[in-house]
């Protein structure tokens, strides 16, 4: 299982990529609801970027990872208070503080 909120498995992602090849995680999101659950891609963005990179050895997955996270952010921007604010902060703890993604 890559996305626990929406129960998207690695097999489902591989099958979707076989059916319509893409290097854009947002395409997978539209196909499979990847990253659309309560955690807003906190865990699956990294895992699925790794899967994409594994299929295309020449591809650096991190720009795609960053733009996928920014795409999810656009959707929740108007709702940032209470628990959503905590969720946003969780994602930033993971991707900025732990994984070191920066805005470059």
């Amino acid at each position: 299982v890559v996305c626990e909120c929406e129960l998207v498995t690695a097999e489902a992602i591989q099958a979707a990529l076989d059916a319509s090849p893409t290097i854009d995680l947002d395409d997978l999101r539209r196909d499979l609801r990847l990253g659309m659950g309560p955690c807003q891609a906190a865990f699956c963005a990294y895992r699925s970027a790794g899967l994409l990179g594994g299929r295309e050895p020449g591809l650096d997955p991190s720009p795609g990872l960053r733009s996928f996270l920014e795409e999810r952010w656009r959707g929740i921007k108007p709702l940032v208070w209470g628990h959503t604010l905590r969720q946003v902060e969780l994602n930033r703890r993971i991707y900025q503080d732990l994984l070191g993604l920066d805005d470059r």
């Binding site: 890559v2 790794g50 594994g54 996270l69």
Partner: protein
Amino acid sequence: MNDLVIVGAGLAGLLAANFAARRGASVTLVAQGRGSLSLSHGCLRLGRVAQNPQVFPEQHPYRLAGLDKVSPAIAEFHQLSNPDGLEFHGDAETTLDLPTASGAVLAVHFAPRSLAQGSLSNSGKVCIAGIEGFRDFDPGLVVHGLRRRGHPVEAASLPLPSGWPGRDLYSTDVASAFDRDWPGKEIARLWSPRLARVDRVGIPAVLGLAHSADILTSLQSELGVTLFEIPTLPPSLPGLRLERGLRRAALAAGCRVLEGPMATGRIDGTSGGVRALGVSSWTPAGPRVVDGGAVVLATGGALNGGWRASRTGRIHESVFDFPISAPEDREAWIGERLIGPHPYDRFGLTVNSHMQPCDSDGRPFFANVFACGGLLAGADRRTEGSREGIDLVTAYAAVEAALS
């Protein structure tokens, strides 16, 4: 009766509990669940407080706590963390450049041995190895990122011994299996052939929780290479090891820990409202009073619930309901992009140089309530790279003020 009631069991609260207990105070730590060390790389980042403290404005937590507290707080941290075998390396003036699981580079001041050995300024041929079937660390991402930054590293993939459960593994699943029964010989037999001709190998941080120091030593000698760990997606073992070490040290020093219930502040009506009594801890069996001579709030910021933001744009501290100032318009709280600075990063409780929470006129709400850590206003911990340093130095200052 406690000398001190500390609320919050994250890095700041655990440090405060240790500092106070080591000074002979009777301490109860009350926490609603655990802090966020499971999200932490388990290193200390101080920002440029040793090189250039003048970059921090007067109302910054470092300046309020006092720059003279930085050195003694670091010295005491070393006494606390090393007995658990974590062996922190580094110093306050220079940074270790450590790889992350996305292939970025994190500059930290102090790192446990298993991470410090991954410093990118060390020489030798480096290989980044994933563990087959483990989702929360991708060597491809690390290798791409490090190469882009000019570090020529190779990728490898390492198998786990047979007989592991056929379900998704979290870092803590692997670590606790290794803690229970470390399969050193078999791991070495499986991994050696895949790690020929490299000097250093970076692997996901899964080498145990309780016995990580011994496991690292044993595996290095079996494989004949220098190993280093890279923190994975949460739960992040280096953070959990630090949590475990500090918690055990606090308990060993005599601190009581009351974990689980929500805490609400109690005010002494007979004092004319100038003193707090302690907190009410809302256990399933009803409220339980935990009173003390002073209260130290270490409840964290936006993530950990030290303050809560309502839809109407009001923000309140969670234990005593202290008001926290913020623009009424919620749009002014957030930045343009997720990965970047956000105004709410600086939100928090205003304190004076005694670490007492104050109203907008600078008057302390109570004479015997103090605050530290992520709850404090006035720092952009991410941009400064100062999160753990602020926790450490403000916890030190708050305990000193609370016990004086």
